[in-house]
């Protein structure tokens, strides 16, 4: 089983990397199709457990303690296969 953790800046916290990338996409001719760009990071954790609920609980703890800085970042967790 794997946990896929996506961490990104909260809505309301200015995402300068997203903004710069949005601007670059505009310049490349995608202005009409691109509405917003936000940049985050993905952390993939291979798990020993096969209990999905328990695994998710543990990964939430990991996010709160280390993987995300909850002052500025949100996270979401997906447990797969």
């Amino acid at each position: 089983m794997k946990a896929i953790v996506n961490v990104a800046l909260k809505q309301g916290v200015l995402d300068d990397q997203g903004k710069a990338t949005h601007h670059a996409l505009d310049t490349l001719g995608f202005k009409e199709v691109v509405k917003d760009v936000r940049i985050g990071k993905q952390i993939i954790i291979e798990l020993n457990s096969s209990d999905e609920a328990l695994a998710k609980e543990e990964v939430i703890k990991m996010c709160e303690k280390l993987l995300a800085n909850t002052v500025i970042e949100d996270y979401d967790i997906e447990i797969v296969g």
Binding site: L9, D16, Q17, A20, L66, N69, V71, I72
Partner: protein, 223 residues
């Protein structure tokens, strides 16, 4: 006066910090992150600049769990004085010893140059030798110096006079350097024993090397 300077893998300002405090007459000991305790005779603990753990995940996020950090938390809770410079400031934020968080500079560039700072508060050990509204010029060198705090947190900083330094131009008008909320360059905690700033006073100790405004800043701790 005994100054203990923490050293993590990737720290690179520990010897500059040692030089600076030795010039001022302090005894300086560099303390490796694997140690369990900071020296018991420590009068000031400095967390110096650099790129601890390669800035992996987030600047300061991994250093905050180093062996030595339990002892640092205990020292802080007992009122011990701590100064975090640059990466040291980022570590103090990640450790929850100072409020707020650091983001990538709004220009997305690494900024390395001498820059003006305005003294916002001098009613603290660190900046007691400087005047309020005085301008100083010392180096900044960072990629993640874009200080963020929410509206409520900023109001608290202001109400408790915890904002120590702001980036400014030659006329003393505060200006945006890196996107920081309210142009903040340095803060302290409510109890006024923990200090953090992005610029580097320890790199401004010699007129010959570009300026010595750092002397009067760090000297505040030796009184």
């Amino acid at each position: 006066m005994k100054v203990s300077v923490l050293q993590f893998p990737g720290t690179n300002c520990e010897y500059d910090t040692q030089y600076a405090f030795e010039q001022l007459g302090a005894d300086v000991e560099i303390v490796w992150h694997k140690e369990k305790n900071i020296p018991s005779d420590t009068d000031l603990l400095v967390i110096p600049g650099g790129f601890s753990y390669g800035d992996y995940l987030r600047s300061g996020a991994i250093a905050r769990f180093a062996n030595i950090m339990d002892s640092v938390q205990e020292y802080a809770a007992n009122g011990g004085k701590i100064l975090g410079i640059c990466n040291g400031f980022q570590i103090l934020l990640e450790a929850g010893l100072l409020p707020g968080a650091m983001k990538r500079n709004d220009s997305l560039h690494f900024i390395s140059k001498f820059h003006n700072l305005k003294v916002i508060d001098n009613n603290n050990t660190f900046l007691s030798l400087l005047k309020k509204d005085e301008l100083i010029n010392i180096p900044v060198a960072h990629h993640d110096g874009n200080y963020f705090i929410d509206v409520k947190g900023l109001a608290e900083l202001e109400a408790n006079n915890q904002i120590l330094l702001k980036y400014c131009d030659d006329n003393g008008t505060t200006e945006n350097l890196n996107g920081s909320v309210s142009n903040i360059a340095g803060i302290c905690n409510k109890e006024r024993n923990i200090f953090g700033l992005m610029p580097h006073p320890e790199r401004a100790m010699e007129e010959l090397l570009g300026g010595n405004d750092g002397v009067r800043m760090l000297k505040g701790f030796l009184q």
